[in-house]
């Protein structure tokens, strides 16, 4: 059971809640069942609603009056890699950020529709966004490590969350999972700034993993890396898939084709009169299908480079 919602009792005391208490929270079930009704998940085979990691229905994201993306329907299955591709400005990052409420940090951003995570509406007002971002970690295009030691970078999240004991173990296992341990185990106290770009990006992944998430969101994680560092990250993603559900935004179609199980192609719709550009989800299906024989002509034109 998902434990994002505090119990009513706890809420009234104004504090966050422990997992155990939430497990039995009836409110969670109530919210979950209420919100599951209109789903039109574009997916070619059925998975019981309850097994889905995310179920997105009619999601639109606004920045002020501007609707950046509209009517997105997408179901994300556990332990799969889902790639989001599409031309610049079609809203890939916007959609990705809505999966862990990162959009909340943008004052003008507003979300419509429902985004269920394990059956719970992520945008329910009782949901704690900090807890959401711990469970649903994010890796950005630029690694940006803190100007601190490698150890401190990885331990940062757990420390902020109040963890004091067992940090060594968390750091070691996170670095191992991020395929970085062997390279850095003898210099954990050296500054992370001195690492190569590829190492820094794996450090970002280790940092995300240290928070013990279920999902990793990655926004163009390899765009600043050379082909070898890119290949290492791709290899790492394939390993991480055993444990995590991954969503990746990439401009590299070959990368999407290589690493993902499913691919979502987004495009931009231009309103002739207002010249407003809105992102839409055009096609979402098995990666092999999308790249060898897509159903939608717009997908075909994009992946074969026929239109800009």
């Amino acid at each position: 059971m998902v434990r994002l919602l505090p119990s009513k009792e706890r809420l009234s005391k104004g504090s966050r809640v422990s997992a155990e208490e939430l497990a039995a929270d009836v409110a969670v079930d109530a919210v979950a069942s209420e919100q599951t009704a209109p789903t039109d998940a574009i997916i070619d085979d059925d998975m019981p609603e309850s097994d889905l990691v995310f179920n997105v229905s009619d999601l639109s994201v606004y920045y002020g009056d501007f609707r950046a993306v509209r009517d997105v329907n997408m179901a994300i299955r556990p332990k799969e890699i889902t790639a989001l591709i599409g031309p610049s400005g079609c809203g890939k990052s916007t959609v990705l950020r809505s999966f862990n409420r990162m959009n909340d940090l943008i004052p003008t951003a507003r979300v419509e529709g429902t985004l269920l995570y394990r059956g719970v509406d992520l945008y329910d007002e009782r949901v704690d966004p900090v807890e959401v971002r711990r469970r649903i970690g994010m890796v950005f295009q630029k690694p940006n490590p803190f100007p601190k030691s490698i150890y401190d970078n990885v331990a940062y999240g757990p420390r902020v969350a109040g963890q004091k004991k067992g940090l060594d173990d968390v750091v070691e296992s996170s670095l191992k999972k991020a395929a970085l341990w062997d390279e850095v185990k003898d210099r954990l106290n050296e500054s992370a700034i001195g690492m190569s770009g590829g190492q820094q990006q794996r450090l970002s992944i280790a940092r995300a993993i240290a928070g013990d998430p279920e999902v990793l969101l990655m926004d163009e994680p390899c765009s600043a890396l050379d082909p070898i560092a890119t290949a290492r990250i791709e290899e790492l993603m394939a390993e991480l898939k055993d444990e995590y559900t991954i969503l990746i935004v990439t401009h590299n179609m070959q990368q999407a084709a290589r690493v993902s199980d499913r691919t979502a192609f987004y495009s931009v719709e231009v309103d002739e009169k207002s010249d407003r550009r809105t992102g839409i989800l055009v096609e979402y299906t098995n990666t092999e299908k999308l790249f060898s024989n897509p159903d939608d002509e717009r997908t075909e034109n994009y992946i074969t480079g026929r239109f800009g």
Binding site: A257, N293, T299, I303, G305, R306, G308
Partner: protein, 237 residues
Amino acid sequence: MSQIELRGNFHEELNIVSDTIVTLAAHVTEAIPRATEALINNDLELAQEVISHDDELDLLSLQIEERCYALIALQQPMAIDMRSIVTAMKINGEYERSGDLAVNICKGVRRIYGISLSPTLRGLVTSMGEEAVRLTRVSVDAYAEGSEGLAAALPDMDDRLDDLQADFIQEIFAAHSRGELKLEETVQLALVARFYERIGDHAVNIGDRVMYMVTGESTESAGAARARAAQEGDEAE
């Protein structure tokens, strides 16, 4: 969205590949009637011409293949582009083989030099040659036009060639037992009939490839279907 052709060069290259395949196929469709003519008229000179000309077909085929490799390596094509290149490579091989079969017929002409075929056999050879050309033509039309319909017509057309081949074999064995053909000649003629029949099979294969190119679905041969069913049965156990 503005309609800009982003990979113009790539698609031009792809057009060159398909144009070259059409050229190759045109050469093959010319080689077949010439081989038939050489066979019927005992024309060794013509047979030799067809054999020599095949080198050019091989070169053309090699050029097509190399261009496809380069496009795959440099462009990593996807969707219809990927299917077009894979199809081009496959059917390139099919036409190249059909060209070789015309050569094989001409080599047969040399081995049976001097025999005179009965009017019935000449008629059957002419018909087999015509059918083989027709199948090859329809296959290249199907490819050039990306036509599912033409591709789908090929298997039925091929049945006609198969029937002609069966009639021809029956006829040469009858002629052999009447003492009109030596055993050696009978065997050579049976092989020649088989060469025509194989040209038809290649055309059918080309039709299957065109279907894949157009629809994205591979046609499964009866044998492959059996093997798949058997494998799935194993997994179920």
